[in-house]
Amino acid sequence: MTDKMPLLSLTVLDGSSNAGKIKLWLQSGISAEQAMLEGDAIRSPLSALSGATLARQSVTYRSIIDNPSAADSGTTVGYYAVLIFSTTNPDEYSMVTIPAIKPEYVLADGPNSGLVLDTLNPAVISLVNNITSGIWCNPFGFDLVELVGTIVERRRI
């Protein structure tokens, strides 16, 4: 695995709300917190030269798999499994999607056969346990608690 430079991205909007981007790469090893602080610091000198106004700031850390293993030729990224989780906030949920779901993990029997994951499969149980371990949260910051449903979706490639 090769780590790429952290990327600071500033999204700016002109007077007609058209978006533009400023991208700056940071040295490797800089923490996310430090990177955001650096972003805060450079906003002012950048803004001095631009008529647009800052709308969003992000830092992206990327790693590239050096020698990826061969993909399963029997699957396609058009088929996604979606796992829906409850969160620590009542009535809030989270969705985790898995492209190119392998057929052996899709339920084979019963009225929902072919449409949902086999949640009794050890590999699925292991994944769910990992996701609900307290590390992962939904886009609004609430921890994932319990799997409440799954569905297999077909999307355009």
Binding site: Y79, Y80, V82, I84, D91, E92, Y93, S94, M95, T97, P111, N112, L115, V116, N138, P139, F140, V148, G149, I151, V152, E153, R154, R155, R156
Partner: protein, 155 residues
């Protein structure tokens, strides 16, 4: 144009929609774009839509139409057994076949031991008593015996 979605006070104010089984994958997949932040006008709209879509996806398969219809059929059979004494038998499990088939129009022919059959039996016995009391050939022993049988039917 960005989308907006209002807050909903009543959590169960909604609609049942029938989705053919062979379209479920595609319909669910079409929800994908709606769960993206850029579609929505504000963070509040995005949050509401995200949770609605999550709930839609999670409940989409909890009650397939076949299960719902079969649930109704089970209620019909329960009532038909109690009221008309209909006896049902499973002749196949895959696919599920139960005989006799549920008729479009209920068969009102009562059979023992259905409740209606017992009431009908009691009514016939009472009519017999009334007929014999209104004639000259009443047989008190027979009448008492019929009253006992009526009492047994109504227990």
């Amino acid at each position: 144009m960005k989308l907006q979605v209002s807050a909903q006070e009543d959590a169960i104010d909604g609609y049942f929609v029938f989705v053919p089984r062979n379209f479920i994958h595609i319909w669910a997949g079409a929800l994908f774009e709606l769960s993206e932040r850029w579609v929505w006008a504000s963070e509040e709209d995005y949050a509401r839509a995200y949770h609605i879509i999550a709930r839609l996806r999670s409940c989409m398969l909890t009650c397939p139409a076949k299960q719902l219809i079969e649930g109704n059929n089970r209620i019909y059979r329960l009532l038909s057994s109690a009221m008309f004494g209909t006896v049902w038998s499973v002749t196949s499990t895959e696919p599920l076949v139960i005989e006799p088939p549920i008729p479009d129009v209920p068969d009102m022919l009562v059979q023992l031991p259905g409740n209606l059959a017992q009431l009908e039996d009691a009514r016939v016995k009472l009519q017999t008593i009334i007929d014999s009391l209104s004639s000259d050939d009443e047989d008190m022993a027979a009448i008492i015996q019929q009253l006992i049988e009526i009492g047994a039917l109504l227990v």
